[in-house]
Amino acid sequence: MKPWSFLIFCSLALLHLTGCNSSPPQFSNRAEFDDLEPYAQEYVSEVLDSYFGTPTESVAWERLPIEYHFAETTVSGSPSPRKVTLDVSAGGHGSIGPGTEIHFASSNESNWITEWDAATGLATLERKPTQTIAEGEAVIVGPGAILKNGRHLYAQHCQHCHGVSGDGNGPTARYLNPLPRDYRNGRFKFTTTNYDFSPSRDDLDRVIREGIPGTYMPSFKLLKQEEMQAIVEYVRWLSMRGEIEKQLIETALADYTHEAVKLRIDGGASRGEIETEFNKRVAEGEIQESLDVVVDLMVERWKGSDLPENMVQVATNRPPATPESIARGRQLYLDVNNKCASCHGDAGFGDGPQNYAFTPGKPGPGLYDDWNNPVKPRNLHTGIYRGGRRPYDLFCRIRASVKGTPMPKFDTMKEEDVWDLVNYVYSIPYEEEVAGSGRLEEMVDSAESETEPAAAESESNEVASR
């Protein structure tokens, strides 16, 4: 064999053994992380590592409202030493099966299921437990399994856009407009929860299932229910991780950015003193305390997001889309106090004057979302409803806004007014566009003319007066 062919063979074999890129995935930090002093950066990394781990070695932090395990249940009987019956009255998880880990709390030992009967909850164990299993003993079935499945599915379906850290900056993200969601603010645009709340599990599930028409988010309808649940939990986990990082940097460690430290040095303190003070505050648990407050608030908010009372409430059914309702909606749309037209434009083409207005603190003219990306108000003529086309979806968009965007919430508006607006928005794609028919005066005229028979006359007067 010639030496060069041998060399090629060896290098191919080596490439095959090592792979092209063998480094494990890493969570990345927010841009603001770089503004911190090195010791503060170290602290942030330590906190995140201990509570969340790395993408491949995740930590299930019990304080977060996340379902990590297939089930936390109790033993209801043990017909033979290698068999246990589990309490599945709350419904067994669909993913439990041969190979699922089962963890006994009292003996702190793990075992594996070799046979599983979902109906009765009878599990055959791989080996005989060292201690006899008492009735009522707490067990965790599939400890951390949902998070683990979620990570695998996320890596397979979501990561190339939404990124390893959920920062919306995966390798394919740069080709997309609008950009993929950055979960790390805890803000998600299309939810059915009230303005101050995060998305509910159902909201995330719906977006994954139905996709977001008009964007690159495709539908993953054919995923199984368990797979969907695992992805939802993993996305929530990433979002909470991102939020804690953000809050740590922005609140708990706000005094230790390069800028803050420079100000204090200008004021007479020395760099060493500040670091010593920081270490003292960490040692005394002061920083941990402020972190705890942040975590508590966040946990409360995520927990609350799944409660029915924090969903956008609707008391009355949507009224039929009569011409009167649509006309009232149109009036509300043009109302100066509601300002719909200032972004969405008089005729609903998404071309209102705010598209050209300057806002202080923004990089340029126009509208920006919380992620500082330019956004365009929706063109209401397309018939594409990103957050879903159900009347309830549109109701929620108006009531609770499109979170993270300049779209305001109308939580004090009367319900019948919201429904009139919804009816109007539904009618826009089917409007017959006649010159001048979108103006406010025209609306008032036609609304009045419905009670007066002089409609045709007033219209012809309009035309004549022009």
Partner: protein, 294 residues
């Protein structure tokens, strides 16, 4: 050594044919029978061509082996036999030009029927489709050319589906070309009646895609700017894969959907359920709440 090479080259075609002969017994064969009548005819064409090519293959391999072995024998030291110089033989040239030409012409003519039934609009099974719509689905029809049951729009990277909705009396409306307020929408989940031909409108929102139902042997490119009618008939109720068969971008592999062929009643019930979901206005369990209030 020369006999080794003769046997070596003769061995592979024999092995190939032997493997093909035993393969069906081991379940190594093409995907199961087509799930549509037209698909079965397409399969018949495929197998016919397979038989022709197999016979041609065996014939040429026998010829090759013959040339190999006689050629090898002639190189033995004591053999006086001379090679037969065949190059430029007019007769042979005519035979191996005309025979394949006839075979190809035969295939071209023989498959015309199937192609025409699948692609020529005038030959679509209009009567059966109309029967399904009017009798099976009780569609309120005042015109006779509009027989689509769904509009499938391919986009990067999913299949958006639009169905006709219901009128106030609960009758299924015809599917208009332009979206209507009553239309029903879904994604990646195409439900259609089984056991009768159905027709869809195929569109693309961005780039070229291809609507592929492998089990039904239906494959049609979706071309931006065109509305392409596609008809098919699932013989049995069940789930069939729907995929994109045209590399349409980095997320091409994500365009995995399904076709659910069901009975007429199930299909109507599915559309009604879709209607209920799509017009959900957030009032949960209105009746029971009202009862409590009273």
């Amino acid at each position: 050594m020369k006999w080794f090479w003769c046997l070596f080259f003769a061995f592979w075609p024999i092995l190939g044919i032997a493997v093909c002969l035993v393969a069906p017994g081991y379940g190594w064969w093409f995907p199961g029978p087509a799930a549509s009548p037209l698909g079965q005819r397409i399969d018949d064409l495929f197998y016919m061509i397979l038989i022709i090519t197999t016979l041609t293959f065996i014939g040429t391999q026998i010829g090759l082996a013959y040339v190999l072995f006689t050629g090898a024998r002639r190189t033995d030291p004591d053999v006086q036999e001379k090679a037969w110089f065949s190059h430029g033989s007019h007769e042979l040239e005519v035979i191996w030009s005309v025979a394949p030409a006839f075979i190809l012409l035969f295939i071209a003519l023989y498959q015309l029927d199937v192609w025409a039934d699948y692609r020529v609009k005038d030959l679509f099974p209009h009567e059966k489709m109309e029967g399904l719509l009017s009798e099976g689905l009780h569609q309120k029809r005042d015109e006779h050319d509009n027989m689509h049951l769904a509009e499938v729009t391919a986009r990067q990277f999913e299949w958006r589906i639009r169905y006709p909705g219901f009128d106030e009396d609960g009758n299924l409306l015809p599917l208009e070309r332009e979206p209507q307020p009553t239309d029903l929408y879904d994604v990646n989940d195409l439900h259609l009646p089984a056991s009768a031909p159905v027709m869809i409108m195929l569109k693309s929102q961005d780039v070229q895609h291809s609507f592929f139902l492998p089990e039904l042997r239906v494959k049609q490119d979706a071309v931006p700017g065109l509305v392409i009618p596609v008809w098919f008939e699932a013989t049995k109720k069940g789930e069939y894969a729907l995929t994109c068969a045209e590399l349409c971008g980095w997320g091409h592999y994500k365009m995995k959907a399904r076709l659910v062929a069901e009975s007429d009643e199930e299909f109507l019930e599915y559309l009604r359920e879709l209607h209920r979901k799509q017009f959900f206005d957030g009032v949960v369990e209105a009746e029971s709440e009202e009862d409590e209030d009273e």
